[in-house]
């Protein structure tokens, strides 16, 4: 089938001497290769040029030909474009200008790509898995910054204007006078170190600022003309839109990763081919990284080959040993559950204690205030370590071990945050029982919290700050000394411990935890996204420094694309948790009487129906129609139909792929049969 085809020779040393593309040269005898050389230029795309112009010609740069050939094809295309008229050429021009536009947009965005060079360096030296962590971090920085701009534009700026314009809030006469007592910033002689205490715990001068919910007013800003800006409504809608916006960003980013993850499907098949064909990372720079990558690939191949041999040789386990293994696994699972449960109980107790004794002064008071953060961080640090030891006993296969460890860590982190929120809620609303004496007056615990939203915001602020401080402290006090000990003091212990590895999953979970805290707190502390942006930027540089100075590249690497999808799924869980907290605060708990833009409403959401009736008649009727059954049921039915269509389409594609594969196999067999027939006939003829 593939005879002695000569390779088309194109491009030579003489400037300006170009050969027309279809001229074939005599086989060069100077070639020292005796194999039949495949003619890569006889591409099926060639025939398309001659065939009818049924579809748009393929983009030239997607053709795998040398530059000379592409240039010649382009000239032919341009000549043809000049000749053809009408709709054809219009369509071609449109696609061309669209492509040019896409290219210009891409080049424009190239400038704004943050930290591009750093990411390239990280990927070249440490691999795709570590790089995916930093890409995720960059995504979160951009998300937080854009959210901050949103909040600043719609809430903070109008409030600033309103404040400078004049009067404070007016008071409706009610009988809830005891609920109106609120003094966030007692003036008086302030000791110097109290400034730092206030800074770290969000009280005092920080409480009485744009930082927290309590500072905002509930009146609508009225300008001289008819311009009115309903600040409470803006506050509510901005918070809701912020959540929706984050959800869209995450889903959009998941879209590309999901498409790849779904298309690849069954991972077990084609394992060896995948490692060998796609294993090499062409971005590897330098001898050290190259040797490491080679070792890595060798290690993976060895492990797979070894496992296969063991599986072939090993007899099946006797039933008794199977039972023993399964009981061991169940026991270990219960132990892990117990550990996690202990951590949760610890957080619950710590939060209750901290809220009850929160009015001490000085360093002790600061310590008590930060107690929930300390317990959460310690739990998040210790429990995964212990679970890792448990996993050693469980003897799952390596991939399952990684997934199980990650799941445990995710559950630990997110649920511990949930426990913290639950404890706060039970303190604020007296565990839901509004008839208790503390809550009876104002329908929230007025004795402890004159302004409960600000307290929740402060708690989230403290969590964020503590997270950053712990990371920097770990960097300075643990990672740098470890490297110095390992490098300069050669002993068995230091060789056993070695330089640390950059463990991607636990670092990513730290990011998800931090982002979830910010989402929960954004309703109560509008400046929190800005603080988080700054925190993540500092984190980027700290982690980069520790990566290059203290870490050695890991031998077992972390897959980059499926893991990006996993990170985004976990981020979505965090988003869901924050959403639940926000909806509950909006819809159920009574806002504080003494502070904030929602005083004198029964719930925060109540402002929407109130303002609704101030809209025009037509708008009201339109919105009623959208909410009514006459609209939503047909919409629901339509989306069901569309979803069924896509599911059917996907299953059809899967089936046609399987069918085509079977067909290919058949054709291969046919080809071999025919070749054998030819040989037989040749032999008979001789």
């Amino acid at each position: 089938m593939i005879g002695e085809l000569e390779r088309q020779g194109l491009g030579n040393d003489f400037p300006g001497d170009q050969e027309p593309p279809r001229l074939r040269r005599a086989p060069s005898r100077a070639s020292d290769r005796n194999y039949p050389r495949y003619d890569w230029s006889a591409d099926p795309a060639e025939e398309e040029d001659g065939a009818g112009n049924a579809e748009a010609p393929p983009e030239i740069r997607t053709l795998p030909w040398p530059m000379e050939r592409k240039r010649a094809v382009r000239q032919v295309q341009q000549m043809r474009a000049h000749v053809s008229f009408g709709a054809e050429s219009w369509r071609r021009n449109k696609t061309k200008s669209l492509r040019k536009l896409q290219q210009n947009v891409r080049e424009f965005l190239y400038f704004f790509s943050l930290w591009r060079k750093s990411l390239q360096k990280i990927g070249g030296n440490f691999g795709g898995g570590v790089k995916s962590y930093f890409v995720f971090l960059r995504f979160l920085v951009v998300l937080n910054f854009v959210s901050f701009l949103l909040i600043a534009g719609f809430v903070i700026a109008p409030s600033l204007v309103r404040r400078s314009a004049g009067t404070g809030g007016f008071v409706n006469s009610t009988d809830k006078e005891s609920c109106l007592v609120y003094d966030p910033n007692p003036q008086g002689l302030v000791v110097f170190y109290e400034f730092f205490l206030h800074l770290l715990s969000g009280t005092g001068f920080m409480e009485d600022s744009f930082m927290f919910y309590g500072y905002y007013n509930n009146n609508t800003a009225v300008e001289d003309g008819s311009l009115s800006y309903n600040i409470p409504l803006a506050y509510l809608f901005t918070a809701a839109f912020y959540f929706a916006f984050c959800l869209c960003c995450i889903i959009a980013r998941m879209g590309t990763a999901a498409r790849v993850a779904v298309a690849t499907g069954g991972r077990a098949i084609g394992n060896y081919s995948l490692i060998v064909f796609t294993g090499w990372d062409y971005g590897c720079l330098g001898d050290r990284a190259t040797k490491l990558k080679q070792k890595n690939i060798y290690y993976r191949l060895q492990v797979d080959l070894e496992e296969e041999r063991i599986k072939k040789r090993a007899a099946s386990l006797t039933p008794w040993r199977k039972v023993a293994l399964y009981t061991l696994r169940v026991l270990m699972f219960l132990i892990a559950l117990g550990l996690i449960g202990t951590a949760f109980y610890g957080i619950f107790e710590a939060t209750k204690f901290s809220q009850e004794n929160g009015d001490r002064f000085g360093i002790l008071g600061l310590f008590i205030e930060y107690l929930p953060s300390i317990v959460i961080t310690t739990g998040n640090f210790l429990v995964p370590l212990l679970c890792d030891q448990i996993a050693l006993l469980e003897k799952y296969s390596p991939s399952i071990t990684v997934v199980v460890a990650l799941l445990r860590a995710v559950v630990l982190r997110l649920v511990s945050l949930g426990i913290l929120l639950f404890t706060l809620w039970s303190q604020i609303t007296c565990s839901g029982d509004l008839e208790k004496e503390d809550c009876g007056n104002c329908s929230y615990n007025n004795k402890k919290y004159q302004c409960w939203e600000t307290s929740v915001g402060q708690e989230m602020y403290k969590l964020t700050l503590f997270d950053l401080l712990v990371t920097i402290a770990l960097l300075v006090l643990v990672e740098f000394p470890r490297r110095m000990v390992v490098d300069n003091w050669s002993s068995k212990l230091s060789q056993l411990v070695g330089r640390q590895e950059f463990v991607v999953p636990s670092n990513v979970l730290g990011l998800v935890y931090g982002q979830t805290v910010v989402w929960t707190g954004a309703l109560f502390c509008p400046l929190l996204p800005l603080i988080n942006t700054i925190k993540f930027v500092i984190l980027f540089y700290c982690k980069k420094i520790t990566l290059f100075c203290n870490c050695r590249p890991a031998l077992k690497t972390f897959r980059s694309t499926t893991s990006t999808f996993f990170f985004l799924v976990v981020l979505l869980f965090g988003w869901g948790l924050a959403l639940v907290a926000m909806i509950y605060s909006l819809a159920v708990i009574h806002p504080s009487y003494a502070c904030g833009p929602f005083r004198f409403f029964t719930t925060m959401w109540a402002i929407v129906p109130n303002s609704f009736y101030s809209l025009s008649e037509v708008t009201q009727e339109f919105l009623f129609f959208i909410g009514s059954q006459a609209f939503s049921i047909p919409l629901f039915a339509l989306s069901c139909v569309v979803m069924c269509y896509f599911i059917a389409l996907a299953s059809i594609y899967g089936r046609s792929v399987a069918m085509l594969k079977a067909q290919l196999k058949l054709e291969g067999q046919d080809k071999q049969f025919l070749v054998k027939q030819i040989e037989k006939m040749k032999r008979n003829n001789i």
Binding site: P15, K70, G128, V276, F277, I297, E308
Partner: protein
């Protein structure tokens, strides 16, 4: 550095933008790097071929185990000696760029792995490829039995028509199932 005398003109720049996947900045950077490697007396001349040894001094290609194969694949010289003109160099960067499609990357990956240029990956091609991947040193090379087992496994997984070799379509089929290929088949200056 000779950059003023050997600058690209606008027409050539837009033509290269259309014919490759590179952005304007990338083409200009490639031109600077290529000119920097030219010997002094040839600076400013066009259509000059750089010998393979010079190209392999670039840090991006220096330690890559496939560097010689890459130069041979993209070279358009008559006795295929791996020397590259500037346009070959642009073709190389375009195939390895961020924006290149999966089809182009898998096509060129196949050609890089096909050491004997016969259009399919036979057992010798696969063996050479695995040796390059794992390195030549004693503690990272597979012994004969392991190599045989590995090649058998690879052929069993990817050779759909059972002819003992992996052709381009079978290769592309395997590649399409890898989510990491497009991001790892990348060389950026």
């Amino acid at each position: 550095m000779g950059s003023t005398s050997s600058q690209l003109d606008k027409d050539a720049l837009s033509e290269y933008q259309e014919l490759t996947f590179l952005t304007k900045q990338e083409i200009i950077l490639a031109h600077e790097r290529f000119s920097a490697m030219l010997p002094q007396e040839y600076k400013g001349a066009t259509n000059i071929r750089l010998p393979m040894e010079k190209i392999l001094e670039m840090p991006e290609l220096k330690s890559n185990p496939f560097n010689k194969r890459i130069c041979h694949v993209f070279s358009t010289s008559q006795p295929n000696d791996g020397s590259l003109t500037f346009e070959d160099f642009l073709d190389l960067l375009s195939a390895f760029s961020e924006a290149a499609t999966m089809e182009i990357k898998s096509h060129y990956a196949f050609r890089i792995f096909d050491s004997d240029n016969d259009g399919t990956l036979g057992r010798e091609d696969l063996e050479k490829m695995v040796t390059l991947l794992t390195g030549d040193s004693k503690d990272t090379s597979l012994n004969g039995e392991e190599m045989g087992q590995l090649i058998n496994n690879i052929l069993e997984e990817s050779d759909i028509d059972k002819d003992g070799t992996v052709n381009l379509s079978e290769f592309q089929h395997v590649i399409s199932r890898s989510p990491d290929f497009v991001s790892s088949f990348k060389i950026v200056l």
